[in-house]
Subunit: 153 residues, 2 copies
DNA sequence: ATATGTGCAAATCCTTTGCACGTGC
DNA sequence: GCACGTGCAAAGGATTTGCACATAT
């Protein structure tokens, strides 16, 4: 799905739900879809303000759930204090591989995850809605050199 | 592994790491292993205080990572504000199935998860350390009646 | 004896919320 | 016009931390 299509989808979603298409929401959308990596709410605020400096932190936090519900963003919670977000490319069958040292996150498609989730929950008679797989791993640089180039801590 | 064995393991772990075996740490251990379900740091504080009323919130928070690192507790983060913990019975190949309505957590063993993690991360040349699978699902009661008996929200 | 651990309360961090004003529809 | 959205700053909730005192080794 192209960015243009996603933008149209966002506007449709808002209208259908009786929500309003505001300049702030569009700025937040544009800022989110300009990111190439995972971003935090704070990152998003910063970038959205470059597009429309009237955007407030509160509006970012209020818009994030809307974009998540409309499947335009994927929320990624790897157990740090803050949540991460990523513009959704369509697939929900994605696993996060997090380097134990540098905290870099690699997203990889995992089409077999669906089968996995249903296998697992059918044991309990539950109907799976979504599944998340998170793998902690040592990245190549860490294994070879004992530390990661991207390390921030 | 029995509770007695786990308690011994905890004391050994502390000694090996040059950490001290204090009455507070033992009270926290005992409180944790007396729980049958997932518990929060606050739950643990409350129960530990019944054993030793000198236990403080700070000590609970300082002891939790020690018990997690020594594999005596498993940390479960399902994206609520607070983290949950569970006395570890040994296996790390466990998936959490969370009911979307009542938030109940079912832990089920998932021995094939290890294979899954390595398959996934080998695509990136990473060495997997641990993996977590979380499945959101509708529980039986929710599907049949539209709401869960255990619902708290 | 002394390095660790502890309780307390304050501080932190991310996120949410109340309110008065602004603005799409 | 008016319901919904917004910015601001304050509140919120979980967790962390600085410090002086206590204690395991």
């Amino acid at each position: 799905m192209s960015v243009e299509a996603a933008r149209a989808k966002f506007q449709s979603y808002l209208s259908e739900k009786g929500l309003r298409v505001t300049s702030q929401r569009l700025a937040i959308f544009d800022a989110a879809f300009a990111q190439k990596e995972h971003f935090t709410a704070e990152d998003l605020l910063e970038h959205a303000r470059k597009i429309d400096d009237s955007v407030s932190r509160a509006t970012v936090y209020r818009t994030l759930p809307i974009m998540t519900e409309s499947a335009l963003l994927r929320e990624v919670d790897i157990g740090r204090g803050e949540k991460l977000y990523l513009a959704s490319t369509g697939s929900t069958q994605v696993a996060q591989v997090v380097c134990v040292d540098c905290d870099r996150i690699f997203e990889i498609s995992a089409p077999f995850m669906e089968w996995y989730g249903s296998t697992v929950s059918s044991k309990l008679g539950l109907k799976p809605v979504s599944q998340r797989l998170q793998v902690s791993a040592q990245c190549i640089a860490f294994r070879e050199r004992g530390s990661c180039p991207n390390r921030t801590r």
